[in-house]
Amino acid sequence: MKFWPLLFANLGRRKLRTALTAGSFAVAIFLFCLLLAIRAGFQQGVEAAGADRLLVINKFSFIQPLPVAHRDRILQVPGVEEATFASWFGGIYQDPKNMFPQFAIDHRTYRDVFSEFLVPEAEWQAFAADKMGAIAGEGIARRFGWKVGDRIPIKDSPYGSYFEFNLRGIYTGARPHDDLTQFWFRWDYLDEKGPVEMKGRVGWYTARVKPGAAMAVVARDIDARFANSAFETRTQSEQAWMASWLEQMGNIELLMLVIGSVVLFTLLLVTGNTMAMSVRERTSELAVLKTIGFGDGAVLVLVLAEGALIAAVGGGAGILLAKLFTLGGDPTGGFFPAFRLPGSAVVAGAGIALAVGLLAGLIPALTAMRLHVVQALRRL
């Protein structure tokens, strides 16, 4: 603690340079944290997917429907505890820019399979009692200022030009990464109002597997049950399906890694150069410190501490900026339903800032430590 004044005085020697160095840290760590938040946004679907759930889709394409009658046969497969279904709706609320997922769900079974979504019992019962009823996620309700009782018009869906829904409830998530941007309404309403060719058709099934049952075996048995039928199925775990969807978007992780590495390496060069300049300018002062009894270790620690302090201040600011940015919610208007800064990103950001700060200061610190007092004093 007694060395703080010396440390702060050295950092205050060139205030603009110190501020710019800390600023470059802040920007780099902000970007780094943002990349991790985006990565987490991509991974959110995989994290949120139920470990005990299987997704059953049409064997040929996800957009090809399946008969509603499949549910009873899926339930007959050993190991299946419950099954529900849903259809993608794809309508527009007021403006095409207002993207959010809309699903027609089976109101009798959906809640049993997706237990992480929490709806007050009274609201759920009101939803079940109203064929035009709908339930919205807390996030989407907040985004559009919806409240229970509102009438929600949705237009231009593949199922028809205009639908109206009564908002009967708002759901929350049991986990921080649960998607709170979905809009659910009753599948029987869609079936009634939709085009004739889509009657009795659903988008996909989600089956919950009994504890202890082998997911792969149950999936194989489901597909076997519909083999050689007009509507063959492809079944995989919800997590695997989410991960394969993510893979279709390219190797996001590698991209993040490359961008992050370039940003941090650039930061290392900039900071290292700045620190080296700072130490070179102070050769005589460091020589004086060593003359009056500051040991090699003390000088090394002093210079390293400067780098660490700049990193801590700049990195902290970067993390704070990233936190504030992510608190604003999904900046893409629906692509990342649960856009947030993971705790691991905060730890990684702080760790990397500190590591870069120390690494950047290491060579100048070693130079200062090895400074030969007599030679340095001779140059004065």
């Binding site: 007694k2 010396l6 005085a9 205050g12 003359t291 500051f294 090699d296």
Partner: protein
């Protein structure tokens, strides 16, 4: 052997024996100091004079533990420093030597108070104790009211006084002053020399001073001459 003893009967605090320092410049070996023998007593004020390159600063560096001799020994207060490791020598300097340079060598970003406090940061003194020591040292050099000033806000003479306060604040065994008045006008130089004399006379400090200025040397108890690495009275 040169024995400088103002009090005659006191025991030598600095003993230099057959001290030599050689440097290599290219393939040529320079004998900067050649077999110096010297005893200095507690409370002595000794001036070293000689032409440039005669070895004055080198001798001061060896006595101050900033450099190691090629041969011979330096013993201070019974401790032979020429055999100490670099790390031990650093600690020894902090405890025993106060340095005063021609260019003051204060840290420009620190106030006078903080500059004087620097050697105390290496001790176990509490903040309050450090403050007391610094205030005493600044008062002793006549700068009690200048504690918050940065070096650029002080005159050359005042900066040198701060440097002297820094040199005495940890109650070092002796002071090494390398051209302490070399960058000052006559009036300021006289003030600094008065201060050094006061430190010797009233506080029993031992002062070794390198100077080119005969008037500065006159203030010392003894003046020693170095020429081509050889010491004479």
């Amino acid at each position: 052997m040169v024995h400088v003893g103002a009090n005659g009967d006191s025991k030598s605090i600095i003993q230099v024996r057959r001290l030599a320092k050689n440097y290599l410049r290219g393939n040529e070996e320079l004998h900067v100091l050649q077999g110096i023998d010297l005893d200095i007593d507690q409370g002595d004020f000794v001036a070293f004079m000689g032409p440039s390159g005669s070895g004055k600063t080198t001798l001061l560096n060896l006595i101050g533990g900033l450099d190691v001799p090629s041969s011979g020994s330096v013993t201070v207060a019974g401790e032979q420093i020429s055999s100490l490791s670099r790390a031990k020598l650093t600690g020894w300097r902090a405890r025993h030597v106060g340095f005063v340079f021609q260019m003051y060598n204060l840290l420009p970003v620190l106030s006078a108070f903080r500059n004087v406090e620097l050697p105390l940061l290496l001790t176990h003194l509490s903040k309050a104790e450090r403050r007391k020591h610094v205030e005493t040292a600044l008062a002793l050099v006549g700068l009690a009211d200048f504690a918050t000033r940065k070096p650029r806000e002080l005159s050359g003479g005042q900066q040198q006084r701060v440097a002297i306060a820094r040199a005495i604040v940890a109650d070092s065994t002796f002071l090494l002053c390398d051209e302490p008045t070399g960058d000052l006008d006559r009036q300021s130089a006289d003030g600094i020399l008065d201060l050094l004399q006061e430190l010797v006379a009233q506080h029993g400090k031992t002062v070794l001073m390198v100077t080119h200025d005969p008037r500065a040397a006159e203030r010392a108890h003894a003046t020693l001459h170095l020429d081509k690495g050889v010491l004479s009275t």
